[in-house]
Amino acid sequence: MSSVDVSTGVSADVLVEVTDLTVGFGSLRAVDGLSFTLEKGAALGLVGESGSGKSTVASALLGLHRGTGADVGGSVRVAGIDVQEASDADLGRLRGGKAAMVFQDPLSSLDPYYAIGDQIAEVYRVHARVSRRAARARAVDVLDRVGIPDALRRSRSRPHEFSGGMRQRALIAMALACEPELLIADEPTTALDVTVQAQILDLLHTLREETGLGLLLVTHDVGVAAESVDEILVMRHGRAVEHGPVGTVLGAPAETYTQDLLGAVPRVDARRVRSEGSSGSSPEASSAAPEVVLEATGLRREFGRGKRAFAAVDDVSLTVHRGETLGIVGESGSGKTTLGRMLVGLLKPTAGEIKPGGGVRPDVQMVFQDPVSSLNPRRSVGESIADPLRARGERDEGRIRARVRELLERVGLEGAHYDRYPHEFSGGQRQRVGIARALAADPRVIVCDEPVSALDVTTQAQVVALLGELQRELGLALVFVAHDLAVVRQVSDRVAVMRRGRIVEQGPADEVYDSPQDPYTKELLAAVPALDPEVAAQRRAVRRELATA
């Protein structure tokens, strides 16, 4: 708290001034006594894990809590307007006119029924007294400005006809339409692929350089903040933990929480560290050729029929050895999840062969992405974990309970949790339950499909560590499917990069990451946000080169 820097400059230069802000929903305090200022043209990143109250702050800047029953205390001044005291008309002028917001999910943030250009024009006409035609021309203008090709024609398309990145550009165009002084971006790239994320962050950077726009960036991703802002404010439980220039906070964090947070962030340029205990099981240490536990050749999977048929996975071959981790990395639509589901037997390949094959089998298990839907809400977690035991024919209740308790304890939960229900657990705990259920079948291979992508970064690190431990102890082979290049590097011995259903590059993790051969792999690696602002600037330069090349 002490490090919060309330520098009061000349008030004319202050764009945002938040003093002692509290926002409460009933008994819950989402924001608890937060203060900060943002000068004109500056960029501040609000960084925190889920539940830290960072998005609530963003909404409070535009007075979006008015009329929702939330208790808002303290004062918020944006572009000279006191948001708490302002009349509805003044608030209307502030929203969009002086401060514009860009939201996380660009698909749901636009009206599905109207053309993009019309929506931008509608917003523009709220703030500028112009004709419909002029507003429409302005919409095409700003769409062109944010890099939408053939803006006039595309302005007539509706949101679902745009790709995710294009939609986010359109939202940014909407924000630019009224030439605001402040842009509030609430997780603007969280729903996007890493290469698209890089494009959007670059766009924001360029716009700031050109227009002198102030930026308040809300994100859970420290890397995204490092790429885009000058100052960082780390939030936890609605309070500020640490506030300062990017280089200082990320380079030499003063607070323990910030240190822990940064320690948990996986780094794409750090080699995998195997603890010394791993003697025989790691492939590079063993002299004999490691046993192959799963082998796929020429896998292909099509969806749809006739004209609409497309191959989600096309001619993929891979082998998994005992005790190793194969990382499969790719962006959305790359077919990695389909591949994972074929490997465990949940999906039948259209062509190709998996050994050992024959549908689902106990020795290949899966850990799922979504900790909410992967456990039946109507059954106790113990019962879910006991499923493989019962299915195998175990009838002795005492033995089942004992084994499930043992598994629960093994994954870091308590044996007494047997009778509890999924909703009583946090996301990370539920993911541990999912791991225990997979272990109950005594598998040789576990396919993990985005096992940590729904988790906060600190929880993510714990779950990844747990998987590593189990692997060493039980000699498990892991297939780790993920979009996050840094996480994959953290856990993998070998890596396969997927794009449009095919593996474009495959090899030992360090080779692939340190000297990528395929241009797509290079592009992916260049797009990963860096924690160091200087590295970030270098990467941005590399991206520009790749784009022009």
Partner: protein, 365 residues
Amino acid sequence: MSEALVASQAAGTDVSVPAASGARQFWRRLRAQRAALVAAAVVALLVLVALAAPLLTAIEGQDPFTYHPSLIDSARGGVPTGSFGGITGDHWLGVEPQTGRDLFARLVYGARVSLGVALGATVVQVLIGVVVGVAAALGSRWVDQLLSRLTEIIVAMPLMIMSLALLAIVPSSFPRPLLVALVIGLIAWGNTAKIVRAQTLTLKQLDYVSAARLSGWGTWRIARRELLPGLAAPVITYAALLVPMNITVEAALSFLGVGVKPPTPSWGQMLTAADVWYQAAPQYLLLPAGALFVTVLSLTVLGDGIRTALDPRAASRLRIGTGRKGEAKADASTKGASGKDAGTKGDVRTEGATTKSTNSKEATS
């Protein structure tokens, strides 16, 4: 389902957080709605009246079938003698014109027919709907095509018209109320089947069903343990809407003279001649119409309440911004409490969404 309930209730005792048990939360949420509680009380009363109809009429000392020619003034076209439609200590609500049958007895026995037929029809609709819907969702592509096409055809059949026509050709020796229930049930199961199919397809996509498959269970066991409990909520919700609808249909058919036939009493039938006799005494219109109105209204309100209790998320979505302070705050605080979930869900990348859409594509094609 019952197993899970017992287990969860046992679990509920030692944990501070309310158990996941559908039933417990359901009752808590239903109790929170005053209108639904009142409606439930009225429905309970109606059911009680229907069950106790013989007892009630015995107390009155009448039955619904005996003619009382002595109470009818045939000179005036069959109007009951005496004022207010022949209300006396013996005939609490008066007697029917022309026949002189006791009105109170016919009204309470009418409740039996009304509720009985509606419930019977609902049971038939739900049974067929669930079997067809689940079979379509879990069966092969051909089974799905066939059953879905059949469902489409059934949905396209106008219920009133078809039942009107069907009831005309069945010999009158068949017990009429049972027949009406069967006809309504056999014609109007299409929407139930559609809802069940859609819900089953959604549930089938869930990871916990995949996990159950990976643990080695067969299709039947997965359907029973993982899918059917998830169907309970939407099926109950829809069935609660079907009951008042069926009551209306039965009353309409009987009103037209093709549903339940005399001498069996039915509210719809009692209204048939109401436009002629209401001037003699208003209760010929008001009693059956009021009984129908109260029954359908309370069942509808109860149905809404059940839906709110079973799907609080949908309900709170509908209540957002209603400005009723207590409720708005309660909503906000539950949202806050589940905010962590919302947050983590939000952080899920689009990969999940795209796979889901491809999977559902596969399911529909």
